[in-house]
Structures are given as structure tokens and as C-alpha cells.
């Protein structure tokens, strides 16, 4: 079979969040935060494994994280974690068919019930919550 170029938009299209609504932004943030958390998770497992090297080893590693960069990264992780969790709960509800509206006879101009205010509010709340958590985290870390 001849291979046809499908003119797929590729990662660029997947990533471009501007053309569509906030739901598409949430989709993108969910992916990025998931990947970010995975990266942190792996690093975290490595980090904690240093405890096996005794007090010296542990404090060596901890001291690397107790820097400004370390704190900023940790703050981002907190943000990602909060957003991913909050939005994750929204997505799980939605994907179970909860809160996506009921089928109706659509009337022009055809609003889409699944793209409803509840979800939009949940997305904005997740983002705000994540931002607050980040600020709180920064305050705690730099405060001491």
C-alpha cells in the first residue's frame, strides 16, 4: 500500500492551545504536569535512595535541593501536583459521563452542553488553586 501523507498537524497542533477554548488549555496542562510529575517522581525516588548512604550522603543531596533553584523547582512541582490532581478529578468525573450535560435537541446556534460552565469553572479553579499552592510553597520555603 502506498503510504499517504495524512497532513497530520503533529505535536505542534496538539500543543497549540490558542485556537480552541480553555478545555484545550487544560488538556495541554494536564499532559505537561503529568510528565513533569513523572520526572519529579523518578528524581524523588533517586533522591530519597540516598538515605542509604548514611547521614553524609543524605545531607549532601538535601543541600542540593535547598537552593533557590531547588525551591523554585519544588514550587513548580507543587503547582503541577495541585493542578494535575484537581483537574484529574474533573477529568475523571467527565470521562465517566458525569457533569457533561444531557443529550437534547440542539437549537441553532448549537451550544455544546459538554463544554459547560461547570467544567470551565473547575478548570479555572484548578489553575488558581495551583497558583495559590505554589505561592504558599514559596512562602514556606523562602520564609524560613
Amino acid at each position: 500500500m502506498e503510504k499517504v501523507d495524512e497532513n497530520k498537524e503533529g505535536i505542534k497542533g496538539m500543543v497549540n492551545p490558542r485556537r480552541y477554548g480553555i478545555e484545550r488549555v487544560a488538556y495541554l496542562l494536564m499532559r505537561l504536569s503529568g510528565l513533569g510529575l513523572l520526572a519529579y517522581f523518578v528524581a524523588h525516588i533517586y533522591e530519597t535512595s540516598n538515605i542509604l548512604r548514611g547521614r553524609v550522603g543524605w545531607e549532601e543531596v538535601i543541600s542540593i535541593t535547598q537552593t533557590t533553584e531547588g525551591h523554585v523547582i519544588l514550587a513548580i512541582v507543587i503547582g503541577m501536583c495541585v493542578f494535575h490532581t484537581a483537574n484529574g478529578i474533573r477529568v475523571m468525573l467527565g470521562e465517566s459521563g458525569i457533569g457533561v450535560g444531557k443529550p437534547i435537541r440542539p437549537d441553532y446556534p448549537y451550544p455544546s452542553p459538554s463544554q459547560n460552565a461547570r467544567h470551565k469553572i473547575a478548570i479555572y479553579s484548578s489553575i488558581i488553586l495551583a497558583a495559590l499552592a505554589m505561592m504558599y510553597g514559596l512562602a514556606v520555603m523562602f520564609g524560613e
Binding site: R105, D107, Y108, P109
Partner: protein, 570 residues
């Protein structure tokens, strides 16, 4: 270079008629190989635009009768319908409603779950089953989706059929161009069902989509099959301005009023008992009379029009039963029908005429059937009633599908393939059109041609304007428009557009000659110089046979069973 394909049955055209036929054929014999060829993608055929309803008697318990459907249809046809055909049609139709229902058609229902029906013009009972106002769309979807059950159907999406190959006695195959690659094919087959639909794009102001051109009609005509009753072109009273998109008759069926510039429901002067629900020919004539006598409006484009008032129907009911026309009028004309009045005007809508067939949809060429709007089995005579056309497509889709399979199963002798005909066709379209020379823009010729039809062969006609129209189109034909600027092979719509234009010239000529010859007023053919129906001289069908110079005109009788022609009054 010609590529070759073989199959058992070709169905050319994938509107309601074509798809109904293919399901019947595929179901009847799972072994025969069927090809559905369509110049648009199969489910995009123009039938998707049918809006208002599909007529059938399903409430006999509430007082409707088949008999009444038969009489309404015959009276609506101004007694030109073949009455045996109408009888068969009305008897078969109820089953089609139920069959579609079983296949998933989302008919609009009554509270108790039964299929609902609504009023349509010219009937004496609310007899049109409907699915909101997207009947054709949902029917197409139901049929297309049902086709997906079968693996012996091959859809040839976007293939343009150009000619029928036969050996004078019997059908042998067709030639076609695959649009996506531009390759020219011969397709050998045992039987053919033509279902290429209407040709309303021969008028510039039309309810039809751009794909409704007469190339299917012309293909049959060139193969020597007669075209029948072509002078009867139906105009629909309510095309919205400025686009010409249809506002379905169901809008009046649900209670809409037609108003002149005095704010009167003027139909009371023309058809006092049926008012806006008189048959289309009568409403159109009344509208043009109103306009001619100065009681019309002027649309901002400068076109004369009248008004259609739906406001009293109410927003909720409009949304529920007329959702699509609500969308159309808001989007395309900026008017919400629940709040404002619409500008409407009679617009080309349907061809009563078509390929001459008998009651079975059989044509004069062995192995070829025709079904749907392209066929003229004379069920509509000189004026079709609304909602009877989608019905016709279903009934004759089923009949021809069955008959074609029977024919194939009986065995068709194989005979030498007439290569020379394929070569001749290749010459005609590639040397004559694709590589043609000229400096006249074919699209401008098409505009002039279709404008001429609007002017000269509209609702009212007379000898002088028809003759003038004929002269004008013959002059246009002589210009050097037969060339294709786009030289690419792939998806060359410039090429198909010019082929469509080429077919328009032949078919329009038949329409005009037929209209000139018919010196009477009957149904959709209203002559100001002969304002009366003339049953002594014109109670017959018009036939046109192909001749390279000019069509050969003949006639054939109308079948009358029980219903004597009487004065038509509503």
C-alpha cells in the same frame, strides 16, 4: 489509456433512490458485486437537503385512505400522471415508512410513540411523515448507515460517470472518471440503475445544491433513451432571498402565511379552501400574479418578492419542527423567523420530467433502470405534490433494485465489448472538452444560460419568450466555451463543470422545445398565451429522442384507470 473494472450491478447516483436500490439489491443477493458510483461522496448527495416530509398513508384508523392519497396525487398532477403508477406508488409507500423506521430513521413522534405526520400542500389529510425539517438528511443517513452492513457494496466516491456503453440492444457498462486521480475508466457490468437525481441547476435561482446538473439525464439521452415531460419544471413558492435556499412547505403546513404588500393573505383570492396549502403550481402562479399586479415587495438585492410570516407559530414550535429553516434564515438572511417576516420568491425546485420508464422503472434499453428524480415514470404528471418525491425515490429504489438483481440472476449473455464506443467517448470528452480551445469563460456562459432560463422559462411562459430563450441558448452554445484551463489530472472540477455545462445545453433545449410545443396550461407549465388546460390536444406525455442536431420529439398516451380529468379547484 483506459483502465477497466468489472462488476454485476452499477448504481449511478447515491441519493435516496440510489441508496434504497442498493440496499434492496445487496440484501437480495449477497453474492453479486455492486458498485455505487457518485460524483460526490456518497452521503453528500443532494437528497440531504430535502426538508419537509415524506408522504404515505399510515393513519387509516384515523380516517386517512390510500384512495385519497391516490386522488390527491392525480389531481395535483393536473391529470397527467399515469394512474396505474400512482396507485402502485401509494400502496407501496406505507411499508417504506416502516422499513426506514426499522433501519433507524429518527421520525418525529407523537407523545404515544407513534410516527407523527404533518400537513403538506395539496393533500386532504396531514400525510407527511417528518423528522423535524431535515427529512431528506435523516433518510440519507439512515440508508447510508444501513449500507454499511453489507460487504458486497463498493462505494465509488467522487467518480463522474460520462456515458453508457451498450450494443444497441443491451446495456454493457459505463465510462467514468475517478476525480481524485483523474483516471478514465470503463466499468463493465450486467445491469445499471440510474439515480442521478434532479437537474435544477439549469436555473440560476434554485433550491438545489451545485451538484444537481443534468449530466445523468444527458448520459441516458445520448444512449438513445427518451426523456419524458421535460417541460414540467416545478417552482417552489418559498425560496428565501438572497440565496434561493428552500424554506420548506412544512412552514406553511405548520401554519405559515403568505403576505403581499397590503399585508393580506392573498391566497384567499386564488384557492380559498386550501389557502397557502394549495399545490405548488397554483401558489407560484398566484405569487407571480401578485407581483405582476404591483402587490409585491422589493428585496434589497432588487428582486421582487413576497413575505412569509411564521411569527405566530411561536419560537418553541419553530425550534422543534422547523429547526433547520430557523438556522437557514438566521444564518443566511439574518432573520429570526419567530420575530421577523421572511422574503420569499418562487424558485426552481424539481423536475417532473426525466428518463422515460414504465411502471417498473424499466427504460427502453435492456438492463437499464431509472429511479428517483431522474426517472419519469409519470407518478407526478405535470405537478408534483410536496413530500411525494422522497417517497417516489424509496418506492422505485426498492422496485428497481429487486428487478435488476432478478435480471442478473437469470443470466446475461456475454457479448463482445464495444471498444470503439469507449474510444469515441474518450475522444468526445478529452479531445472535445479537456483539450478544447477557446477564449470564452465557461462559467460566465453558464451564468448567462441559467439566467436565461430564469427569465424565459419561469412560472409563466409564452411562445415569444420561449422562442427567444431557445434562440439565445443556441447562440450561447456556438461560443467557444468548450475548453478546460485547469490542466491537472487530479480533482479537476473545472473539467467536470464544463462537462456539466455541455449536458445543460442539450437538456435545456429539450425543455424549451417541449414547452413551446405544449400549447396549453397544465400544472407547472403555465402559458399566458394558452391559459386553459387542453385535454383534447395535449393529454399526452412528451418524449424526446437524441439526435446530434436537434431532439426528435414524440408523444405517448397517459394511462387513465378510474379518475376522469376534471376542472382542478382548491
Amino acid at each position: 489509456m483506459v483502465e477497466s473494472i468489472e462488476c454485476d450491478l452499477i448504481i449511478c447516483g447515491s441519493g435516496l433512490a440510489g441508496l434504497r436500490a442498493v440496499i434492496e439489491a445487496a440484501k437480495k443477493n449477497l453474492k453479486i458485486k455492486i458498485i455505487v458510483i457518485s460524483k460526490v461522496q456518497v452521503m453528500r448527495s443532494h437528497s440531504v437537503s430535502a426538508e419537509g416530509g415524506t408522504a404515505a398513508v399510515i393513519f387509516e384508523d384515523e380516517g386517512d385512505t390510500i384512495e385519497s392519497h391516490i386522488y390527491d396525487t392525480i389531481k395535483g398532477s393536473d391529470f397527467l400522471a399515469d394512474q396505474d403508477v400512482v396507485e402502485r406508488f401509494c400502496r407501496e409507500m406505507p411499508n417504506e415508512i416502516y422499513q426506514l423506521e426499522r433501519w433507524g430513521m429518527p421520525w418525529s413522534r407523537r407523545e404515544n410513540g407513534k410516527i407523527d405526520q404533518r400537513w403538506f400542500a395539496g393533500y386532504s389529510f396531514p400525510r407527511a411523515s417528518y423528522a423535524s425539517d431535515k427529512v431528506g438528511f435523516f433518510e440519507m443517513q439512515t440508508l447510508y448507515d444501513t449500507c454499511q452492513k453489507f460487504d458486497n457494496i463498493d462505494f465509488f466516491n467522487e467518480w463522474f460517470a460520462t456515458s453508457i456503453i451498450h450494443n444497441r440492444k443491451r446495456f454493457m457498462g459505463i465510462t467514468a472518471i475517478e476525480l481524485s486521480s483523474g483516471t478514465f475508466y470503463e466499468i463493465k457490468a450486467k445491469a445499471l440503475i440510474i439515480a442521478t437525481g434532479g437537474a435544477g441547476r439549469i436555473y440560476s435561482y434554485s433550491t438545489y445544491g451545485y451538484s444537481s446538473t443534468p449530466d445523468g439525464l444527458d448520459m441516458a439521452y445520448r444512449a438513445g433513451v427518451a426523456l419524458k415531460d421535460m417541460e414540467f419544471v416545478q417552482f417552489h413558492p418559498t425560496g428565501i432571498l438572497p440565496s434561493g435556499i428552500l424554506i420548506t412547505e412544512a412552514a406553511r403546513g405548520e401554519g405559515g402565511y403568505l403576505l403581499n404588500n397590503k399585508g393580506e393573505r392573498f391566497m384567499k383570492n386564488y384557492a380559498s379552501s386550501k389557502m397557502e396549502l394549495a399545490p405548488r403550481d397554483i401558489v407560484c402562479r398566484s405569487m407571480i400574479t401578485e407581483i405582476n399586479e404591483g402587490r409585491g415587495y422589493k428585496h434589497e438585492t432588487g428582486v421582487d418578492c413576497l413575505k412569509l410570516d411564521l411569527r405566530h407559530i411561536g419560537d418553541e414550535k419553530i425550534k422543534e419542527k422547523l429547526g433547520a429553516i430557523r438556522e437557514i434564515s438566521i444564518k443566511f438572511s439574518g432573520i429570526n423567523p419567530a420575530q421577523e417576516i421572511l422574503d420569499v420568491r418562487p424558485v426552481c425546485h424539481y423536475m417532473m420530467g426525466g428518463i422515460h420508464t414504465n411502471i417498473d422503472g424499466t427504460t427502453e434499453l435492456e438492463g437499464v433502470w431509472a429511479a428517483g428524480e431522474v426517472a419519469c415514470n409519470s407518478v407526478h404528471g405535470s405537478n408534483r405534490l410536496g413530500a411525494n418525491s422522497t417517497s417516489e425515490c424509496l418506492v422505485w429504489g426498492k422496485i428497481t433494485g429487486t428487478l435488476a438483481v432478478d435480471y442478473i440472476e437469470k443470466g446475461v449473455p456475454s457479448e463482445p465489448w464495444p471498444d470503439f464506443l469507449v474510444e469515441a467517448e474518450e475522444k468526445r470528452i478529452y479531445d472535445g472538452i479537456f483539450r478544447g480551445k477557446g477564449d470564452v469563460n465557461p462559467y460566465e456562459i453558464k451564468q448567462e444560460l441559467t439566467d436565461t432560463m430564469n427569465e424565459k422559462a419561469y412560472v409563466y411562459r409564452d411562445e415569444a419568450s420561449l422562442v427567444e430563450g431557445l434562440k439565445k441558448i443556441r447562440a450561447l452554445k456556438e461560443q467557444t466555451w468548450k475548453h478546460v484551463d485547469d490542466k491537472a489530472k487530479e480533482y479537476n472540477t473545472n473539467f467536470t463543470n464544463v462537462m456539466e455545462l455541455d449536458s445543460m445545453f442539450r437538456v435545456i433545449e429539450i425543455i424549451l422545445i417541449g414547452a413551446i410545443n405544449r400549447k396549453e396550461t397544465r400544472g407547472a407549465h403555465a402559458r399566458t398565451d394558452f391559459p386553459k388546460r387542453d385535454d383534447t390536444n395535449f393529454m399526452h406525455h412528451t418524449l424526446a429522442y437524441y439526435d446530434p442536431k436537434e431532439p426528435i420529439m414524440k408523444t405517448c398516451p397517459v394511462t387513465v384507470t378510474n379518475y376522469k380529468p376534471v376542472m382542478r379547484k382548491y
